[in-house]
Subunit: 183 residues, 2 copies
């Protein structure tokens, strides 16, 4: 028997696994003493990068997101490979997807969702001061990139066009950062 | 054969299901023409509520989050029941978990994560002007509530204490809102 906070875990089994996700079902005793099951999903954690250019524009990718069955505007992101730091993953993804190498990097912590069932962290970074390199897309990726003025990206957060959590947090944090500098 | 953006879906099957999540595995043809599989997770969408009192404090819940195997500071949140609107779910959750009925409600859109595999939306709300009601916790919930000054909650976002995406977005948005009013 293992404890997880106020839960007791009597047993666990992998009910589904593929190269990207693993789903576990635990037999648990709830905080109130009742028996139940708990299903959780492990997903490869990764990095999301807001690239900000000298004109104050941010780089948004327009990509089909299979989970939600729709296209979505999001900052460049991708999973961390084995042995990589989240910063190294961020640098690799920005080079592969956008063909950019950045001199300046600033971390903005990580976001998680939905925390009740997912074991997944997305680390956030701001990247600036670019030189160009060759892109190398994966066969699963069809990405349209667009430099968008920060004020326009903020508008897209406010009007609900952007719903990707990591992207929203990055746009709000970068906006704060630039406003502080102006004052 | 069904199309999902640049993907072709040749077939789908439920590989795991419990009362909370459903996991599908699709047989797909990737955008580059290669055959593969794609696993997705359906999870009940819900609402997250930042309660803001007259002293400028926000209500944070300290709760064990089973997915990430750790305790987490988050705004009050919960799944939407069948037939409910997200606002109705927000009102019900705030009453059940915090014993609060709010007169003032403001929506702040929704957040999603991770969009590549999850079909899940979390709708965000600000609630103000409270009267009290009786709490009614579920047997799965052990929640410690704490009113925290907004500046302190913002500090908890900046130092990485808060990682729950919906909570971070709400704290940043409420901070913006109050700063606009002061000016």
């Amino acid at each position: 028997m293992k404890r997880k906070g106020p839960w007791k875990v009597m047993g666990t089994r992998v009910v589904y696994k593929n190269p990207w996700i693993a789903v576990h079902e635990d037999r648990v005793i709830q905080p109130d003493g009742k028996k139940s099951i708990y299903g959780t999903v492990d997903f490869k954690s990764g990095s999301t990068i807001v690239a900000l250019d000298k004109k104050g524009r941010v780089l948004l990718a327009y990509e089909y997101r299979y989970g939600g069955s729709r296209y979505s505007y999001e900052c460049v992101s991708g999973g961390r490979e084995k042995g990589e730091t989240f910063l190294a993953a961020a640098k690799r993804e920005l080079a592969e997807e956008a063909g950019l190498i950045a001199k300046y990097w600033k971390p903005f912590g990580c976001v998680e969702l939905p925390t009740s069932i997912m074991n997944f962290q997305e680390y956030l970074f701001l990247a600036r001061d670019f030189t160009k390199t060759k892109k190398s897309h994966e066969g699963t990726e069809v990405i349209r990139l667009r430099w968008v003025p920060l004020a326009k990206a903020y508008q897209m957060v406010c009007d609900g066009t952007i719903t990707h959590a990591g992207t929203i947090v990055l746009i709000l944090r970068v906006r704060e950062l630039l406003q502080k500098k102006v004052r």
